[in-house]
């Protein structure tokens, strides 16, 4: 999973971390079990927060099955929170 620069403070600076699971939800559960501070940056009431996007193989999971979107072995998942800097 690709960690955006705005969230790397929560992952000890890691740009990419491996996570296990068959769906986006399972991946996020695995990820946030290791980096608990990420949870409130990504989820709101156990759903994807409205200021975060998750892409599986370049596709926004909101246009698929949301957190239940299946993730194949070896897929790249990109977390993309809104960033405002200019």
């Amino acid at each position: 999973m690709r960690i955006p620069p705005t969230l790397r403070g929560e992952t000890e600076g890691a740009r990419e971390v491996e996570a296990r699971g068959g769906t986006v939800r399972e991946l996020l559960d695995d990820l946030t079990a290791r980096f608990p501070a990420l949870r409130r940056q990504l989820l709101e009431d156990e759903e994807l927060a409205p200021f975060v996007n998750v892409y599986v193989e370049g596709e926004d999971v909101r246009t698929r099955e949301g957190l239940e979107t299946a993730v194949d072995d070896g897929s790249t998942v990109i977390l993309l929170p809104a960033m405002a800097g200019g």
Binding site: P4, P5, T6, R15, R40, Q41, A49, P50, F51, N53, Y55, G58, E59, D60, R62, T63, I78, L80, P81, A82, M83, A84, G85, G86
Partner: protein
């Protein structure tokens, strides 16, 4: 030995002539003839019949085959009064064209009838030199350059992203550049904000940017707005009308205002944002693709928003992202190419990689969706107080 008058009469007698009214009917028909202006360039530049191609009579024989490769397609020729075009029609008949028609009375008679003409416009010698590298590109050319000179582009912010955008848009000859920025230039800006310099420390960014732009290209009129965009002033700022907005804001409240306004006013927004080594660019084009709220329905809560000042940014990053934004803005202004609509381009300077994400319109979008729930501007609370420019 025939006189000129006799020669002209002979030519006129041997070719098909039409008057302005009939010429207009021919041009309006589905199988319209190719319209060729055989006058000299200086006459052409003072006004012409829409859709015409210029092939001065002096170059007629050598150039007509390029302009009209299909000899079976009728060609309608005109000059100022119908004399040169009669000779030209005769020449085309000799060259094997099936039907060469001369407009009797020429452009003068066309105008007298009040029929449509193209504006007498051209770049003139100075601009032809200045923009020569644009004029050499078929997708731009003189018409495109004139279009850029007529374009009005609004820059949100004259900071990291706004600086390269302002410079390249000005250099490209975009005729009117609006610049919104409330800040003054400080020393921490100079690591990346290349529209400003040590000479402009303490000066409003709008003034500093204007000076830089005017030194670069006098064709550009800068319209400065030394204020922060709010729900109170946004309608006034948009009132004169803008073709494209380049969003280089440094805060969420402005980005959401810009988005909502662009949807309601139908103005495409070239969006860019940066953080440390990474940037993103996309084009939000109302009607054609998603808007910012399709992507992020709401800004993050204040405590979650990354602080721009603490985050830092590699100085050249806004140069890369702002320049891509500028390329997109120029494409939109020119109406060429495939803008980044529905595509989010990510750039990571550290890995040296670009990536593209697909963005889709959200039917439940609170602003551009089927049943919008946001119909008025929202001033979100400021949580990145201008420090990150």
């Amino acid at each position: 030995m025939p006189t000129y008058r006799e020669l002209l009469q002979a030519a006129k007698a041997s070719v098909e002539e039409v008057d302005a009214t009939r010429a207009r009917e021919l041009l309006d028909a589905d199988d319209a003839p190719l319209l060729v202006d055989v006058r000299e360039r200086d006459e052409w530049e003072q006004g012409r019949i829409p859709g015409a191609v210029l092939v001065p009579r002096g170059n007629l024989e050598s150039r007509i085959e390029n302009a009209a490769p299909d000899r079976s397609r009728p060609v309608l020729l005109y000059c100022a009064s119908g004399a040169r075009s009669a000779f030209a029609a005769k020449t085309l008949t000799d060259l094997g064209y099936d039907r060469a028609i001369s407009l009797a009375g020429g452009y003068t008679d066309w105008q007298r009838n009040g029929f449509p003409t193209d504006l007498p416009r051209s770049l003139g010698p100075e601009r032809t030199t200045r923009y020569s590298r644009h004029l050499l590109i078929p997708e731009v050319g003189e018409e495109g350059q004139l279009r850029l000179l007529d374009s009005r582009i609004l820059l949100i912010g004259a900071g990291g992203l706004g600086s390269p955008a302002a410079l390249y848009l000005a250099a490209a000859g975009v005729g009117t550049l609006g610049i919104i920025d409330a800040d003054v230039v400080d020393e921490t800006n100079l690591q990346r904000q290349i529209a400003h310099s040590r000479n402009s420390l303490g000066e409003p960014k709008t003034d500093s940017a204007r000076r830089t732009i005017e030194a670069l290209n006098p064709d550009v009129e800068v319209v400065p707005f030394r204020e922060r965009l709010t729900s109170e002033n946004i309608e006034r700022i948009l009132e004169p009308g803008w073709d494209v907005i380049v969003d280089g804001a440094d805060n969420f409240p402005t980005r959401y205002l810009v988005n909502d306004a662009s949807v309601w006013h139908d103005i495409p927004v070239v969006h860019g944002s940066i953080f440390r080594f990474e940037g993103q660019v996309t084009v939000f084009k109302p009607g054609d693709g998603p808007c910012y709220r399709c992507l992020f329905p709401q800004p993050p809560p204040a405590e979650m928003a990354p602080s721009c000042a603490e985050g830092g940014v590699l100085g050249v990053l806004p140069g890369v992202i702002g320049s891509i934004q500028t390329a997109e803005a120029l494409k939109l202004a020119l109406g060429i190419g495939d803008p980044l609509v529905g595509r989010l381009l990510l750039y990571d300077a550290l890995s040296g990689e670009f990536e593209e994400m697909k963005l889709r319109k959200n039917p439940d979008c609170p602003v551009c969706g089927e049943s919008p729930t946001i119909t008025d501007y929202i001033d979100y609370v400021e949580f990145c107080a201008g420090v990150g420019h």
